[in-house]
Structure formats: C-alpha cells, structure tokens
Assembly symmetry: C2
Homo-oligomer: 222 residues x 2
DNA sequence: TAAGCCAATATTGTCGACAAAACACTCAAT
DNA sequence: ATTGAGTGTTTTGTCGACAATATTGGCTTA
C-alpha cells in the first residue's frame, strides 16, 4: 500500500538510508557533528561508504559540509523553517495544480480511498499513523504531478528535511483533524479537475502547517 | 564584477568544476557514458575523486547513476526541457517576487547598472557576453530573494542544467533584444518594489524563453 | 594574565589494490 | 540462424593506508 519503496542495493545505500532515518528521527541530534571515523566504526563500514552517504545527505539538505573541516547536521531554526516552507508552498502548490491535470482517474480514486482509511485512524488518534498518512497523501499528489524535476526536488531534495521538522516538533491538538479536513478539500478539488483551486487549497494548507510548526519551534525555544 | 566566485579548494572540487563545465559546454556529449577509470586517467586523479565529482554532478541533475552500472550524462529532450522550465518558471517567479521585497536599494542600483552595461554589449552583438550577462542578471535576482533554500535549489540544483540547454541550443535572432527588454521591465518592477508584477513578468519571460528553446530543440531534431 | 606562536594530535582528502557485479563473447544445441 | 548457457573481461563497489589540512594544547613572551 505504501508508496516509494526505494530498495537499497549497495552498502552505501543502506548506510545512507540508516543515517537519514537517524537524523530525521533525531537519534543523531540536529546541529551535531558527523565524524567519519566514528560513523565508520559505528555502522561497521569503511570511510568511503560513509563519505558517499554524507555526500547524499548533503544534497538532501540534511547536512552541511565544509572542506577539510567536516559535516554537520543542519540546525532547526525558525528562519530555516520559514524559508523551507516558503519554497514548499510554491512547489507543492504547483504539484497540486499539475496533479489535478495529470493524475489518472484511477490514481484519484486511490487517493480518495487512502483518505477514507486515514479517517479511521484519525478517529482513534494514533499519532504515528497520522505522520505516515500525511506524508503518504502529499507523496501521491507530488507523484501525480508527473513532472520528474518537481518530483526529484521535493522527494530527494527537501522532503526529508520537512519530515525532520515535523517529526522533531510534532503535530498535535486540534491541528490534526483540521489538517485532515484540508486534505479532503484538496482531494475534492483534484477530483473535480479544478487545478487552480487545488493549488490554492494546497498553498493554504501548507501555510497553516508552517504557522503551527513555527509556533511550536518558538515556544519550545530550541 | 561577476557573481558567485566559488573557489575550488580540493582536488575533487577542481575535477567537479571541470567536469561540469565540459558537460554544460557539450565537450562531453549529452547522453554519453562516464567511465570512472577513463576519467581518472584523463583528469589525472584517483577514481575516488572522480566518484565524488560524479556524485555532485548527480545532485546537479547533470548525470544519472545506476548501481553497478555507472553514470550517464542526461539527454536533452523536449519533454525534459518542458518539465525543467515549468519548475524554473515557478521558482524564479517566486525569486523575483521575494527580490522585490528583500533586495537592498544598493543591490537594486547594481542591478540597473548591470543592465546598462549589458545594453552596450547587446548593441554590438557579442553572443558570448549575452549568455554570461543573462545568467548574471538572473543570478542577482535569485540571490536577492534572500531565501537560502530557494537559492540552493536553483543555483546548485537546476541552473547548470538550464545553462546546458541554453548553451547547446543557443539563443539567437530577435529573441536577444526582446529578452533584454524583458529584463528591463523586470528590473523596473523590482525597483518599484512591485512584487506581484515582478513575479508575473519573470514568469512570462521564462515562458517565452522556454518556447524559443523548445522550437529550436524540435526543429533541430536532436 | 593575555595574546600569539609552535608542536602534537586528530580529522579529512587522496590513493592504489582487491572484491563483486554487470557486460561481452564464444560455443553449443535446437 | 537463433537462443541459451557459460566463461572471460571490464566496470563499479569497498577497503585500508598514507598525505595534507585543521584543531587543540602547551609554551613563550610581552
């Protein structure tokens, strides 16, 4: 049922996925240094593999490298969040618009089916599936745009950083059910092939999410 | 005078810049295979350096890698160009809007000064400086957005691929002076701090450029 | 005591060699 | 003649060691 089952084939792939997961989940703290030798012993691979993984993490905007100095996990800041979501709003708004045009009837049907199944889990209040479900919904629309560059920029470029903010800040309270309603309206616009409305609703949805996360980030004073 | 003087500090840096230049300029043909051993002898560096360079080229969307198979320079196709410019239109439109808000008065002054100097070279018809000048103009606006994620996605993410299409297809004929006029109008909107107009003009400017390049790509039947 | 230089140490950058996988070619069988 | 298996070759993936650079700490000197 879940999308995007990227299979690791090489040792560098596995290490990259593992490192990425640990960073997104906060197991490796935001802002901390990534020592190549330390990681190579910890993950039981050579430094060459670690270096390749770190390079890929850099293109995912999750770490920053400086020559002869090393790599650091990015810090989570209000400014960074604001800039990230400004870009996300533009790109995913575009994705929603294109999805309303380019998704097949079957894909739209699947999207609505997914929403119905999410409705069940939202009622029970299982936060873990909320996170996964939200990502799944957005992924389908992104893929539905059928624009490979857009897909690459979002999925390989910035989405893991978005998830990092979401996972480490959380999304709780009334926002959960509100967001679900917004998803329904977006899906409705796409079902009606109303591209302009789909873009507008998606942009507003992301704007709300940004404000929700920004509030948490500021009040928790990271 | 020129912007973005990224200095190579390591051997991998130099190799990366050289390879990127050769690909953008067409010295290494679009669609061709990149053999690691071959490149390592040609550029007189170890395979590790070549591999690092290729990894970076991949995050620049200039090459595609497959595990255990190798890397290939991307192909220039009408579909790829259309998708790329669809994304570019959205992102640079956003950049122009933000630039109208965030550029300092001094930066706007420099932008107008740059345009005046371009006006001289356009009259003489020096195509080389046209290309460089156009890139310079767009770079200033992108940097003027002051959004680091947007800057990174455009400059490190897709702009070299955009340049690759431009360089290998060329931009000639009446389009040259027309594009210059469009630049002037965009600069005017930014000078007036009219964000909405700046975005609209930039989007249309990029749309025109796309159509111009698409025509060339189709008629030349690459 | 503070500032600056120098040496010792630790970390990143680069290299060549070996392992594993994909590719190409031959040869046999239908 | 074509397809298939099998072998030999080439290419990519991984590793450990060495080189070059940055950091740390101590020492000297004002």
């Amino acid at each position: 049922m879940s999308l995007l089952l990227e299979q690791p084939v090489t040792s560098a792939d596995k290490t990259f996925f593992q490192l990425r997961k640990d960073i997104v989940d906060g197991v490796i703290l935001a802002g901390s240094k990534l020592s190549e030798t330390e990681l190579s012993t910890k993950y039981a691979v050579s430094r060459a593999v670690i270096r390749e993984a770190i390079n890929r993490l850099e293109s995912n905007h999750l770490v920053e490298r400086k020559a002869h100095v090393g790599a650091r996990v990015v810090a989570l800041t209000p400014e960074g969040l604001a800039e990230l979501y400004q870009v996300r709003e533009s790109l995913e708004g575009m994705a929603a618009r294109l999805a309303a045009i380019n998704m097949t009837d079957e894909e739209i049907l699947d999207l609505n089916t997914l929403l119905n199944s999410h409705f069940q889990t939202v009622k029970t209040g299982e936060t873990y599936y909320q996170e996964a479900g939200d990502v799944d919904f957005h992924y389908r629309i992104i893929l539905g745009s059928k624009n490979n560059h857009l897909i690459s920029i979002l999925m390989n470029g910035i989405y893991h950083l978005i998830r990092m903010y979401r996972v480490q800040l959380g999304m709780v309270g009334p926002r959960v059910t509100t967001a679900f309603d917004e998803h329904r309206h977006i899906a409705q616009a796409i079902s009606n092939r109303d591209a302009e409305l789909a873009e507008m609703l998606m942009r507003r949805h992301i704007l709300y999410t940004k404000n929700n996360l920004l509030t948490k980030l500021v009040t928790e004073s990271f």
